[in-house]
Symmetry: C2
Subunit: 273 residues, 2 copies
């Protein structure tokens, strides 16, 4: 379950390692990952050159020189790993792309993932990415912008944060510490946030995500070169810390159900439901 930090890191690495390479071959073992028939996908992609790789939220955008984008979503959990002629491929994978220099990458989806091919002009019609909210590490994500997003919303703050249409890239892992840092209960209604709570939350989002990016992402996720990140689970403040003491007040952390997801909270620090 990679979230914004892991995807951002991976896209940057892919941009560095793949830019300018020409696609020699593609292997699709799981056609359901695609949005078009395999034959059409192969035809439109083979021989094309990678112009750049970027990311938005949990999506990776591989821009080809043919004005097409390959849009990748790793779903629940997936390994997207680079290989060189010297390295042997992973045993299992659902998708493989090989460049003319015999480097390439494989993707092993654990569960639901997409590799979609969309023309530049049809990007706005691509349902899964067209309505993504702003990236929280984009300079356009200002406190003012954040406040505007919050206005008139009646939902709980956690639902708001992990809804990709509001802000793109926060999932059920990072949201835990973001809410703890802002001292907000996940079910707290957006409309009841004070000025200070709003700006504390804004800061917490940037702090938590940027901290993880600096550390290379979560330690249980692999980057493009198969290396694990340095953000260890021990460093979580409350996430996945059931019954461990709160780092502020030592109250045991609780795991609660919030809608359809689980939340880890300090019942003292995040009491104001």
């Amino acid at each position: 379950m990679p979230e914004l930090p892991e995807i951002t890191i991976k896209a940057r690495q892919m941009d560095k390692s793949l830019k300018g390479k020409r696609i020699a071959d593609v292997e699709v073992r799981q056609p359901k990952n695609l949005n078009i028939p395999v034959s059409e996908f192969l035809k439109k992609v083979k021989g094309k050159i990678v112009s750049s790789v970027s990311s938005k939220g949990k999506w990776i955008f591989i821009k080809l020189d043919s004005a097409y984008y390959m849009l990748i979503n790793l779903g629940m959990n997936a390994d997207l790993i680079y290989f060189t002629p010297k390295q042997k491929l992973p045993e299992k994978y659902q998708f493989k792309i090989v460049f003319t220099d015999n480097t390439g990458f494989t993707i092993q989806f654990q569960w639901f993932g997409y590799v979609h091919l969309v023309s530049e002009e049809d990007l706005g019609k691509h349902k899964l990415t067209a309505h993504l909210g702003v990236s929280p590490i984009n300079e356009r994500f200002t406190l003012e912008h954040f406040k505007r997003l919050l206005t008139n919303k009646k939902m709980g703050i956690k639902s708001f944060l992990i809804n990709q249409k509001n802000i793109a890239g926060i999932g059920n892992v990072y949201v835990q510490d973001i809410l703890f840092k802002a001292k907000l209960h996940p079910s707290r209604k957006v409309s009841t946030l004070s000025e200070k709570e709003t700006s504390d939350l804004y800061k917490a989002i940037l702090e938590v995500l940027n901290c993880s990016i600096r550390l290379g992402g979560l330690t249980y996720e692999k980057d493009f070169y198969g290396r694990k990140g340095n953000f260890t689970i021990d460093e979580f403040l409350v996430g996945y810390k059931t019954r461990k003491p709160c780092p502020i007040c030592s109250t045991p952390i609780e795991k609660i159900r919030t809608g359809s997801t689980h939340s880890y909270i300090c019942p003292e620090c995040q009491s104001s439901k």
Copy 2:
């Protein structure tokens, strides 16, 4: 709460009485009923001639010679009544239209109603009418069409019938006897209907609505000329008959909550939930 029979009757009467008349003046006492500013509405409507009046579901469509439509929805309850120079106007009304021959009509909305002005080319963008389902008294509403509508629906049959996007014109009044005649519980899942139940239901829809149209609509609703209909509440089979005996088996009729609406059912005849 006029439904298809009352609206159909009224639109036919309006077509007969208003076609060819030129609009001399309009009075708007409740601007919120409109979709555009009052000044713009007046400008676009004054001097125009009524080409025809028709209806779809609970909506009245007044077509003007300027390729504009005046779309009227009477909401919960409203009197839309014709007047001639001899008759005095109702005391209260929110909307009045006067033709050059000094006839006209007034509308007294009790609660929520619309008078929208939409150009012919923008009809498809008018959210409130563009997605209305087929009219059950339209010849296109065949048994085959009805079956197609039902396929893959997972909702309860009552929700299905009163959802204007499926079929336009059935509300919480007529749906009661329709379900009773078809011997269906309101919460019965659409997907579980047998062939026979489906065709019985289809027939019940046509029977109930056409019967009311023939009788001039419900007795507590007024037509365009202010006359009451001849479909009396006594003739309801189960609707609004709480604790009265079922006309088939004499079991007392029950009033139950089904989602956000009330339903009147015979617990014996409509038991198959």
